[in-house]
């Protein structure tokens, strides 16, 4: 499996940009990391391993992500916090000229005002990235979290409850 350096740079930059965007709470920009008919799911590991279809959020279009972005900003009621994603270097599983399959580990740390920081969620993502006229986009993000016991709620894109 080979990959040109510019494509490898674009893939690693995509992951880094994504983490930076969600940590900054730029939700309109977050939606633009995805194709129109994307799949974004955050699934407890038990459901994944036992082949149960339920995910914690399961979005199957960019429109659903935009509805989530609206929910995060306008409707979901929650304690304020900030969130920090640390994403590992993606493992390249499949490569073609315009489509790549990657996996990446992640850890999300959460800090509430006047509290110590905590590990909020850890896991890995199984991603499909495609080349589009507007640059590389996620066609699929299947996020499998080891942290099945959610500390109360998830608001943001893993920073689901914001």
């Amino acid at each position: 499996m080979t990959i040109d350096f510019p494509d490898w740079l674009a893939i690693t930059q995509l992951y880094a940009d994504y983490a930076s965007t969600v940590d900054a709470g730029r939700w309109a920009d977050w939606c633009e990391f995805f194709t129109e008919d994307c799949v974004y799911r955050l699934q407890p590991r038990e459901n994944h391993e036992r082949s149960f279809p339920l995910a914690t959020p399961a979005f199957t279009s960019k429109g659903m992500l935009q509805d989530r972005a609206y929910g995060i900003q306008e409707t979901l009621f929650h304690d304020p916090y900030c969130q920090r994603h640390v994403v590992g270097i993606p493992v390249l599983r499949e490569a073609s000229d315009d489509r790549w399959r990657c996996e990446a580990n992640y850890a999300v740390f959460r800090t509430k005002l006047s509290h110590t920081s905590t590990v909020f969620n850890v896991g890995r993502s199984f991603d499909t990235i495609v080349r589009t006229p507007a640059g590389l986009k996620f066609a699929v993000r299947e996020i499998i979290d080891d942290s099945e016991m959610i500390p109360n709620s998830i608001i943001d894109p893993i920073r689901l409850p914001s």
């Binding site: 149960f52 339920l54 279009s61 429109g63 935009q66 409707t75 929650h78 709620s153 998830i154």
Partner: protein
């Protein structure tokens, strides 16, 4: 071990088990009354409406740890008035609102309850525009979140009053630890597992039925986005319970008042009341403060 140690006298704790409609219950109390008597005829009717003998299919689990006393979640699902104030998705799309046709029902001891409601006109009634959570201009980019298809079982054996509208949502609380959810096409059980006084685990089991079409299964999974730890609706509840617990702990001598709809306990034909919470509290005190 001493020579007369008999392992047969030190076995595992045996639980009292009951099965009905594909659901398994277990109790640590060997003298607990039979399951059907424990629920009573009214609540059993609502249980049987959901679990009417069809083969159940598990869709998956969600787990969350909510830093609040376990009774707060029972109260949440016995408080029919807050969804129309707090949950934008419920009030804006008419899924649960104070002006929906609704009924509140309890068992004879007022420990269990069913909140029964029928979806009303979404986003039109002038009365709700004063509610802060109502978003008149809110339109979904992807309306499949609320692609609702009525199901034959919704009318159910419990709806014996022919004049009563077909329920679109029935939320049943079984004291002390189980919640049965039907909110349009999303059905689940929610299990409260206390972790001390100030925390509980909340375990969601989403399911469907063996005769569901693939489209109905997908619909149940899509509507599940409203519920669970990340739900457009349910995330609000966990967070507010955390706030409530913080307030209780900071002012232990203070008291909460639940007098919406009066001070008595009884079934109603509307949801503007805290009667179900008063009923549970009264039962709780009868059990826990008995001489």
């Amino acid at each position: 071990m001493p020579g007369d140690f008999n392992t047969a006298e030190h076995g595992l704790t045996k639980l009292r088990v009951a099965r009905r409609g594909g659901v398994v219950f277990a109790a640590f109390d060997p003298d607990v009354e039979p399951f059907e008597d424990f629920l009573g005829p009214e609540i059993l009717g609502w249980f049987d409406r959901l679990f009417n003998g069809r083969q159940l299919v598990i869709l998956g689990y969600n787990r969350q740890r909510i830093p609040g006393n376990w009774k707060l979640m029972q109260e949440n699902i016995k408080d029919p008035y807050h969804p129309g104030l707090l949950h934008t998705w419920f009030v804006t799309f008419g899924l649960w609102r104070a002006d929906n046709k609704s009924r509140l029902r309890m068992d004879a001891k007022h420990r269990h309850a069913a909140m029964i409601s029928t979806r009303g006109a979404a986003g039109q009634a002038a009365q709700v525009t004063q509610v802060a959570s109502f978003k008149a201009g809110m339109q979904l980019h992807d309306p499949s979140f609320i692609d609702i298809v009525p199901e034959a079982w919704w009318s159910g054996p419990a709806s014996t009053d022919p004049a009563a509208p077909v329920p679109t949502a029935v939320m049943t609380t079984l004291f002390p630890s189980v919640i049965l959810q039907q909110q349009v096409n999303s059905v689940s059980t929610r299990h409260i597992q206390p972790d001390g006084r100030g925390s509980f685990d909340f375990v969601w089991t989403h399911f469907g039925f063996a005769d569901d079409t693939p489209e109905m299964t997908q619909r149940r999974l899509t509507q599940a986005n409203l519920f669970g730890p990340a739900g457009f609706v349910s995330a609000d509840d966990g967070e507010v319970i955390e706030f409530s617990q913080q307030a209780f702990e900071s002012k232990p001598a203070h008291r909460a008042v639940a007098e919406l709809g009066g001070r008595d306990v009884g079934d109603t034909e509307h949801m503007v009341t805290e009667t179900l919470i008063r009923g549970m509290d009264r039962y709780w005190r009868d059990v826990m403060e008995a001489p």
